[in-house]
Symmetry: C2
Subunit: 495 residues, 2 copies
């Protein structure tokens, strides 16, 4: 028989031969009982080593396509015809590792549930270069003490090399849970015991674990509107009925929360994206409401470690006496999002189920990183970092506030806020502007920020700009805001 | 007024004062309008610094309990009475961080869904010391090249310090996906493109993502019985109806899979826990069945990188032409479980939904670790490690096989297997023994292993011992098996 093997393509020759033979069997050029060319002969034909051919034959034999008879070479088995031949022509075979052939696109046999229409954004790192970077919710990585971090990780790995290497505690490294409890006490005056804390892969996983243990399909979840779309999508993906509750100057409008809501997701310290803190009065109303309705409040305290007010409001958790507030914290803003490090502070009644859910979800986090973070906190490096970073962010924030006033004041006013890494500028009464009209052109001009309207689940009741200063370099702020102003002037219409 | 503050308790004095005042307001000893003792006076009374008192007053003011009047000191606000007072007597206040008071146990307001009866095991590391360690599914951490790993992580963190620090790609580091595709080509002759691969936090998260995108509540999932209980619990936690399908000498009994099954979870290379490889004939039957029923096959290839047979069977994935097999791989056995590093190889039709599910679940993995692992693979360190480790495990495995034969042969016979990190010894016909009777006593005597019966979801059709050799030191194997034999002799009854 003549066996055509294309070896022109990049990639492993054994694989090409393997695939060519499978193909030949699949389309009937090779039939049960057919004798294959002797390895030496085929190797010579193809100009490859005998081993290359031998390896391919061996693989085919292991898979049941071929059988060998001593002294008589290799034959196609009777079973071979019924082996489903891998799809795709051998000629196209090249492989990423340069090793074996990639599967040609398989027929679309498997489809996800229809509910998976949600598609992730391209990651921010894919954005073009920004000379004025007002992206939201990102800390400045250049402020992170990488050298100290590297030292701690290195120490940890040295210790790990003597560890049993077994699976670890789903709730997280006990040392880190103790360090976080202490940190919350110092920085947020929260009363949390290490056993109340579960380390998570960022806040997102914390919310996911809560949804797993608390929500039945159809349960009603109330979210602030405007609000955090990732939380909205997450609860929806668990089959919850997500309702949007308006936010006024004091925070979420408690009277508008559906009476049957099982869970309320809220951002009291720094409403996302508006930036306002929830008033003390409103906090009490919310706690009262939850107690009466037997509901859960999830407090997402995502970036309030950077505070710029004389008298910070304590977390809702610190006011809660009924054990209904679950606190979600993260190091994504205070350190780096790529660390994927966050935590829940949950009532003892939920901790065992949350541990179980974590173990089923992904067992536990990366232990060495957790222990390194514990050392980072207990050595005072976190506190020092927060002090230094806060000073930097404070200057940027002040430059933003005066720049917004100077360049955008005609159309927009900054929403009062006391913490965090972003400011929201809201359209002044009578001014009409669609933020969606300018986000794209600005991005194209190297200025990154978000539109306020885009953060509404329902129809946007207010529009404006959401401007981060975590990654905004001080000397770019004034020019960036001036650049935005030029676009606003073009698209805005005042009465 | 006289304010009783107990400062005898360990812990932060500011917190003690804070809580004592909240308590006094809560139980009415302090009423709206009451004037608090001047800071200086209270500080003197309590023998603490004025700042300590000032900080407590400031916190109470921020929370709305107190208001200050210049020159007139601090007063209890009218609102204060309505602030829910934190529970628990001030006298018990001590804090983990030694900083603020812990919440006294809150009333059990929140309860998990009833489905969360699953409780995680104590982690293996909590087990007492084992002189003969036959635990299942654990690699030997002392074989892991920690120094090289530390170097790669350190390099990565050095690079990271110049990275944008934004959120990353949910599917995982492209370099790692390419490295894994190449590795799968070389070690498993699999045809996978980097875009088919999603990096996960171990296999467990891979299964969780699949459940999210494929399963509706009530969907039927078929698992091998005996089988992997974590997978069983996971699918159940997503509302699936999990059915146990028997396993015979060739693998899962395809005719016994319920016709309406949407997903079949299988371990073809090294059936867990029996250890048998699925026969080629049975693989074809399974693929055929899935094609006819439009079902999904999840192939959990958890430890087959350690192979001890001349002719390894390729993964089921390599035989699949219809794109119905999703391959789940892990580095938990080939490297370390604490790395939490695994991956899925999925058909293009599922990848976007899986990416979305990953982003909602916890956004992405720890990027620095993924990049370090990519370098670990491309530098050939993984291949080298697998070679060295395989040689070590091969010797242990052989010692196990002969030891089982010598010490336990009277009652048990090793189940044929060709790969992995554990062996299963099955009771010989006529011998009766409940493995559950000896696992405890053996563990108490410092010998760790698992019972086969414990791995059945339904009634156990066969019993025996599941004996890992990943962590079994060579010189402990013979003695360990002899020790097990003494227990078996005590509890077994032969005809």
């Amino acid at each position: 028989m003549d066996l055509w093997v294309d070896l022109s393509a990049r990639g492993n020759r054994t694989a090409a031969i393997y695939r060519a033979l499978v193909q030949a069997i699949g389309d009937g050029r090779l039939r049960a009982g057919d004798r294959l060319p002797p390895m030496r002969a085929l190797a010579a034909d193809l100009g490859v080593s005998r081993t290359t051919v031998a390896t391919a034959y061996e693989r085919l034999t292991a898979e049941g396509y071929l059988a060998g008879r001593v002294g008589a070479g290799s034959f196609v088995t009777a079973a071979a015809a019924t082996v489903p031949a891998p799809a795709g022509p051998a000629a196209t075979d090249t492989a990423p590792g340069g090793d074996v052939a990639p599967a040609a696109t398989a027929p679309i046999a498997l489809r996800p549930k229809t509910s998976w229409d949600f598609l992730p954004d391209a990651t921010s790192s894919r954005d073009g270069p920004l000379w004025a970077d007002f992206r939201v919710g990102l800390p400045d990585p250049t402020l992170f003490p990488f050298d100290a971090w590297r030292r701690l990780i290195s120490n940890e790995l040295r210790l790990r090399s003597r560890s049993p290497g077994t699976y670890d505690e789903p709730a997280g490294d006990p040392a880190l849970r103790e360090a976080v409890a202490g940190h919350l006490g110092r920085s947020r005056s929260m009363r949390a015991m290490p056993d109340d804390i579960l380390i998570t892969n960022g806040t997102q996983q914390g919310l996911d674990l809560l949804a797993r243990v608390l929500l039945e399909p159809g349960d009603v979840v109330a979210l602030e509107d405007p609000g955090y779309d990732r939380a909205r999508e997450l609860f929806r993906s668990h089959g919850a009925t997500v309702t949007a509750v308006p936010v006024d100057a004091e925070g979420i409008v408690v009277q508008r929360i559906p009476p049957q809501a099982r869970l309320v997701f809220s951002t009291p310290s720094h409403q996302f994206p508006l930036g306002i803190p929830m008033s003390l009065q409103r906090r009490r109303e919310l706690l009262q409401w939850a107690a009466e309705r037997d509901a859960v409040i999830v407090e997402d305290d995502y970036d309030s470690e950077f505070r710029f007010a004389a008298r910070p409001l304590e977390p809702l958790h610190a006011l809660d006496r009924s054990g209904r507030v679950i606190y979600a914290g993260t190091f994504s803003k205070s350190l780096l999002p790529t660390l994927r490090m966050g935590y829940l502070v949950a009532p003892p009644s939920l901790v065992p189920a949350l541990r179980a859910a974590r173990q089923l979800a992904d067992w536990h986090g990366v232990t060495a990183l957790q222990s390194a973070l514990a050392a980072f906190i207990t050595e005072g490096l976190l506190a020092g970092h927060l002090r230094r970073a806060s000073a930097v962010y404070r200057r940027r924030r002040e430059a933003m506030l005066s720049g917004i006033d100077e360049h955008l004041g005609e159309w927009l006013e900054a929403v009062p806020s006391a913490a965090g890494l972003h400011l929201t500028a809201r359209l002044r009464p009578g001014v009409s502007l669609r933020s969606a009209d300018i986000v794209g052109p600005a991005r194209a001009a190297g200025i990154g920020f978000e539109g306020l309207a885009a953060h509404f689940a329902g129809p946007a009741t207010v529009d404006g700009l959401v401007l981060g200063y975590g990654t905004a370099q001080l000397d770019s702020i004034d020019g960036g805001l001036a650049g935005i102003a030029r676009l606003v002037r073009r698209f805005a219409s005042s009465p």
